[in-house]
Symmetry: C2
Subunit: 346 residues, 2 copies
């Protein structure tokens, strides 16, 4: 549902301000035609200097601003709007992503329409529909589910779409990802190389793309080392620190408990650390490896290595891909799949 202005008979505009000045008002004030005003504002080519000045004076005097919406309804005109749909704008990781996207988009003269899907596929669907209805020139989406029907090319009106941070199986469109599998693989391999054989895994539900991939890297590293993954040590479904904390508390009670923990994201790492602190586990009794860096990670009272990556760069890249499609630079190119590398940071 779109417009739900339940206003029965909402009062007309306050009397304080009539209507915004239009190009006609400026023309009248400057003693020229609307067309001349348009020309001046569009670059001022082929207009006599004195008229340019008259127009600019009138613009300043009236406080005139072009109506971008009216301009954009004309054929071939763009809105300069990019829809950005994020699962949780308050998550520091996605906040960085948003910042990176903003940098690039603003530099290209674009503005962002931002929506928070809250990891809810239905809400995402509504947002996509709404943004397309607002004539966005492009879309950057962190998809919250595995369903793609609302993101098919026809459903988005053919506007360029870039998926960020997560992919959707079977949806052929530009995508930027962290190399989750390789990152988790390397991190786990490090733990194994250090001699750990009982490594717990704490992460989010498998239906989330990155979660699945990280568990995949974790598993592959075990396979490569010829070691099994003990299902009793794998805890998935934690979406916030407290759930992770509880999961870790359980893991400490398992027979033959783990000597190391791989946590799939920073929120899980935080929960794990809380549990360990709460149970007064000695620092030398638990080795930690966590995906995503976070502030003060260097102050954790346990040996912790972080699988780091640059969310801001991810946002920048996603934005560059949209802009490339809009500039025709990527015309005819098949959908791009970019994977950004991770690094291990102690």
């Amino acid at each position: 549902m779109g417009a739900m202005d339940n206003g029965e008979m909402s009062n007309p505009r306050s009397v304080q301000r009539a209507t915004a000045p239009t190009i006609h008002d400026v023309a009248a004030a400057a003693g020229v035609s609307p067309m001349t005003v348009s020309r001046v504002l569009g670059g001022g080519k082929n207009v006599r200097p004195e008229k340019i000045r008259a127009v600019l004076d009138a613009v300043a005097a009236l406080g005139y601003r072009k109506n971008e919406n009216a301009r954009s309804i004309r054929p071939g005109q763009r809105t300069g709007l990019i829809g950005v749909i994020i699962t949780n704008v308050a998550n520091p990781y996605y906040a960085q992503l948003q910042l990176g996207a903003e940098e690039v988009l603003a530099g290209g003269g674009f503005r962002m329409l931002v929506g928070n899907s809250g990891e809810d596929a239905d809400r995402e669907r509504v947002l996509v529909h709404d943004f397309v209805g607002r004539q966005v020139d492009g879309l950057i989406v962190v998809p919250s589910g595995t369903v793609s029907d609302h993101l098919e090319t026809e459903r988005v009106g053919g506007v360029p779409l870039v998926l960020a941070s997560r992919r959707i199986e079977g949806l052929a469109t530009d995508t930027v990802l962290i190399d989750d599998v390789a990152g988790a693989f390397e991190g786990t391999r490090r733990l194994l190389a250090e001699g750990h054989t009982r490594i717990a895994y704490v992460g989010n539900i498998k239906s989330i793309f990155t979660s699945r991939r990280r568990l995949d890297g974790f598993t592959r590293a075990h396979l490569t080392a010829g070691l099994p993954v003990d299902p009793a040590l794998v805890r998935v479904g934690q979406n916030d620190p407290d759930a992770a904390r509880r999961a870790m508390l359980e893991l400490l009670e398992v027979p033959d408990p783990p000597t190391a923990v791989f946590s799939e994201n920073n929120r899980n790492t935080v929960g794990v650390v809380r549990a360990l602190t709460e149970k007064r586990v000695p620092a030398d009794r638990m080795r930690l490896m966590g995906f995503d860096d976070f502030e003060l990670s260097d102050m954790i009272p346990f040996p912790l290595t972080v699988i780091d990556h640059d969310a801001r760069e991810l946002g920048r890249t996603a934005a560059q891909m949209v802009v490339a499609r809009l500039n025709g630079v990527a015309d005819g190119l098949a959908p791009q799949q970019v994977q950004l590398p991770t690094t291990l940071a102690d």
Copy 2:
């Protein structure tokens, strides 16, 4: 254009869907007039059920979406867009603020146009101008400077404006603030009550509203206790953790060094902690008090009390104030000044 091939009878769009379907296309497909389509989409009052069905079928078949921009250029129509300008969307504090605003706005059927000013007044000015040109119905701004000319009522075209987190002197408009002064006062008073007399202050530049207010609360608490503030212990101008770290390192070298530190925001707290850890200051030799909570603050290896507040609630409140103005609920009311309380959390 020649009067010949005006495709009145033929449908120029049906050949290629190079352009998005319009209300005319739907009307043609459903065998009704555009007006009937508009009526159906607007609620379907006073339309024969069979026609409603025909229209809805056509809409589904063509994948039609209303062009919101075209709709909003008509007089009295709103865009449903709220401009949100934030100094740094990647800062967890403002990310929370954004989330809170989104919650309320989305619930009211509004969408957010988000801009990052980067603490740059010029950039803020550009964003405001652009957003107003895009016909936003309202504005929520975290102002980055003390200059207000671009935010005057006339300059924003009479659009409801709410300042969040910071105020601008002399600008009479709705404002939501954290009660910085009271928070800093209470926090400092606690330190003084514990017997500290040499309390350092680490914070941002004074030109930032909240910074000034927090230093103010700090100072007043000293005055109330009849104690002086030693200028040698006050370090301002730190905008990031590393600058705060360096400031704290210097403070440790001052003759008669502080026994407690008041840090003005979480980034400064982080820097302070880093410096203390780096210098191996014993935990019982430094008492910390910091504005803004942050993740893992409970894991800091020093006695730390946090002056906490709810940025998300701040965002919600700001959004509610804009919506109230738009609904006419606040008609005629003087500009509101809301202060949200802080709490001390150990």
